[in-house]
């Protein structure tokens, strides 16, 4: 495939073949993104020459966690090992990648977490300073940036760059354990999915009225809980499932929730495999669910809240004793 259009068509043709299997679907996304980025690299090389420094192109968000649904938005960044003069080249590359991924079918990120934005496209030295500043400032939005950054993996380029930055973060957190409490606070808000009478709480207004916002009400408690534990145990792997695997020896209580999360991934895929847009992927109409499925969704939510609550207690308890 030599053009964005060809990739877009390929994606369209093949999607139904992989959309019922979480693992295959995410490998497929990786393949599509990889191809797209390589076309973008060729294009920029044609205009600006070869890259002026070694670099890593990395994915964040659901792509970073290997948890994409059929549709997804873009969350990516670039780390390069060179002087500030190289930034213009990589920002151009970032813009081309953003452009290519949009054409192929990945929506732009609302929060502008993309390699076309200088915050997410920097030299490794600047990245070090930025990660340190995010943590030491400990402002709400700085920590939110850090948490976004932490769910990341390199797709193309030098994998060690990202690990180096994550290790810098681990060292800072080890020295300042109270930051874990700030990180817990940062993700403690959970959009309510279940009402006082045990009923599902769908959106009330707009085109998604009557639908459950799956990402915020159901996914986030699992994802956030496992990310917090991964930060504590210095696990660099970004996927929630691999975090379950790596952390279960130290935190046996999470084993009770692993199966629920796997089922939740399948649940989303089953109900949203025919979604027509990124927005649709996250919204399940309550009317489309049977009584049993509603019950199942409520169970996912309740378990997620419980997992997050237990995690929060553990992190707060362990970290406050260090103060």
């Amino acid at each position: 495939m030599n053009s964005y259009d060809e990739i877009q068509q390929f994606r369209h043709q093949q999607m139904t073949k992989v959309s019922n299997n979480h693992e295959r679907l995410n490998h497929f996304h990786d393949q599509i993104i990889d191809n797209t980025v390589k076309i973008a690299m060729d294009k920029v090389e044609g205009e600006w020459g070869i890259p002026p420094a070694p670099f890593a192109f990395f994915l964040m968000g659901s792509a970073g966690r290997f948890e994409q649904s059929v549709w997804s938005d873009q969350d990516h960044g670039i780390i390069f090992d060179g002087s500030d003069d190289c930034q213009a080249y990589f920002l151009r590359l970032g813009s081309e990648i953003t452009n290519g991924l949009t054409k192929v079918g990945y929506e732009l990120c609302d929060g502008n977490v993309m390699a076309s934005n200088s915050i997410w496209c920097q030299s490794i030295e600047r990245w070090e300073i930025q990660v340190e500043r995010w943590l030491l400032e400990a402002k709400w939005d700085s920590l939110r940036h850090f948490l976004t950054f932490f769910d990341s993996r390199v797709l193309i380029g030098e994998t060690t760059f990202l690990d180096q930055l994550k290790n810098t973060a681990f060292s800072i957190l080890q020295e300042k354990p109270h930051l874990y409490i700030r990180l817990v606070e940062n993700v403690s808000f959970v959009k309510k999915g279940i009402g006082a009478f045990g009923q599902l709480l769908p959106e009330l207004k707009g085109e998604h009225s009557g639908s459950i916002q799956l990402k915020q009400t159901t996914f986030f408690p699992y994802v956030n809980a496992l990310r917090l534990l991964a930060l504590k145990d210095k696990i660099v792997k970004p996927s929630t499932l691999s975090r379950f695997g790596e952390l279960s020896d130290n935190y046996p209580f999470i084993k009770r929730y692993e199966e629920d999360f796997k089922r939740l991934l399948d649940f989303r895929l089953y109900f949203r495999r025919d979604a027509k847009s990124y927005e649709e992927v996250h919204h399940i109409p309550v009317s489309a669910l049977t009584k049993g499925e509603k019950q199942e969704l409520k169970e996912f939510m309740k378990k997620g809240y419980k997992l997050f609550s237990e995690t929060k207690t553990i992190v707060e308890k362990e970290c406050s004793t260090w103060l």
Binding site: G195, L201, K205, G206
Partner: protein, 419 residues
């Protein structure tokens, strides 16, 4: 003589309080709608009060209280003189107090016009509502008409003022159709948020205080200081309505929605308007709670039915107005029943409930049908009672009045910044 003068003084104080309720409506309606219509909403409330006052003086009072038949009064037009018999209320005081109720009902009706009706539609409907809709219902219940003969209880106007206004608002809402952008093609509805919740809350508070005049002065006298009892019931019902609506919204949606809470307080007030002087305080609390619960579900119901009710007039004044009127049939205490009979829970059986229900159905139906016919005719004759799409998008401040309620906050193409 002194007591009689105090009666008059109390009722004129009530008159002032009820007139101030228009200030409450200005804040409530302006706050619940968009900035581009704020000046229009405030201004139309004042000038329609002007039209309503003149029409009430010319024919409204006469149609209600003049000598006539079971359907309508037919004397005392262009009413008013300085006479005073020394007993009861002076004609001028009584007239003024009654006029205020007509103005409140008219303002409620205009809730259904919000953000999309032509100014000329307001003018003509103000004339016709004040002449042939409100006075007829008021005559039936308060002016010695056929419902008064049946012993219909309506202490201060749950039916006469609120339901009548709300039914006219319903007719207008149906004919005007929803505002641009309210409903999506798939039928789902969007929230068109009001521009200032603080105004809305202050509007509710002003209405709440005004209601002490509305219900309290409806005793028409100070004897036994019974007005204090009506005001106590009013306060309890409003409080219960606000609390109930907030908790219901919280439980149902996960959010303690502010507009819903405010509507809960108004629902408590509307609900206690008919029973204010007929029921015990515990019943006022129950009536307020049920009013607060009903209003939440009613707002949802109208939204689902694609009836766009920008300031919730249909739910607050209409549906809850019905509940308030029926509540008399359940909770009226025998010793307070100076009209009609005791309620169902006080051994009165279903008689009073039946009378109340008949009053609601007939009054509501009359107000709706006549308002609908009038508005339909206006719609035909005036080439539509709704502004054009462009005018609606620009906002009625500019399109109907030529200036913004908030000129500094609306960007203008000729605005230049910098040197």
């Amino acid at each position: 003589m002194e007591i009689v003068l105090m009666d008059n003084l109390w009722v004129i104080i009530g008159t002032f309080l009820v007139l101030l309720m228009l200030g409450g409506f200005i804040l409530l309606e302006a706050g619940s709608t968009r900035m581009k219509n704020a000046g229009h909403i405030a201004g139309k409330t004042i000038f329609t009060a002007g039209i309503g006052s003149l029409v009430f003086w010319a024919v409204g009072y006469g149609f209600i209280y003049g000598d006539g038949n079971w359907f309508i009064g037919m004397s005392n037009f262009f009413y008013g003189d300085s006479s005073f018999s020394g007993e009861g209320l002076s004609p001028a005081v009584d007239f003024m107090f009654q006029m205020m109720f007509a103005l409140i009902s008219l303002t409620i009706a205009f809730g259904g016009f919000a953000e999309r009706a032509k100014l000329s539609a307001y003018v003509i409907f103000a004339l016709l509502f004040s002449a042939v809709i409100y006075p007829v219902v008021a005559h039936w219940i308060w002016g010695g008409g056929w419902l008064a003969d049946h012993g219909k209880q309506d202490f201060a106007g749950s039916t006469v003022v609120h339901l009548t206004g709300a039914m006219a608002a319903l007719a207008a809402t149906i004919i005007l159709k929803p505002r641009i952008g309210k409903y999506n093609k798939d039928g789902s509805s969007n929230e068109i948020a009001g521009h200032n919740q603080v105004f809305t809350a202050l509007g509710v508070l002003l209405l709440w205080v005004g209601w002490f005049g509305f219900n309290g002065a409806s005793t028409f006298e100070v004897a036994d200081a019974f007005f204090g009892f009506a005001i106590l019931n009013t306060q309890l019902a409003a409080a219960a309505g606000a609390v109930a609506a907030m908790f219901v919204a919280w439980a149902l949606t996960g959010k303690a929605d502010v507009p819903t809470t405010l509507n809960g307080a108004l629902a408590g007030l509307v609900a206690i308007t008919a029973p204010a002087g007929f029921v015990d305080p515990w019943a006022a609390v129950v009536i307020g709670i049920i009013g607060g619960i009903i209003v939440v579900f009613s707002m949802k119901m109208f939204d689902k039915a694609k009836i766009d009710d920008p300031i919730f007039a249909l739910s607050v004044h209409g549906v809850v107005g019905v509940w308030g009127t029926l509540a008399n049939g359940l909770f009226t205490v025998p010793e307070y029943a100076f009209v009609g009979q005791a309620g169902l829970f006080y051994g009165g059986g279903f008689t009073q409930l039946g009378v109340q229900a008949m009053g609601v159905v007939t009054s509501g139906l009359y107000a709706f049908v006549v308002a609908f016919v009038i508005l339909k005719i206006m719609d035909k004759v005036m080439g539509g009672i709704r502004v054009t799409e462009e005018e609606e998008i620009i906002g009625l401040d500019l399109s109907e009045h030529g200036g913004y309620g908030y000129p500094e906050n609306i960007p203008h193409p000729s605005d230049k910044s910098g040197a």
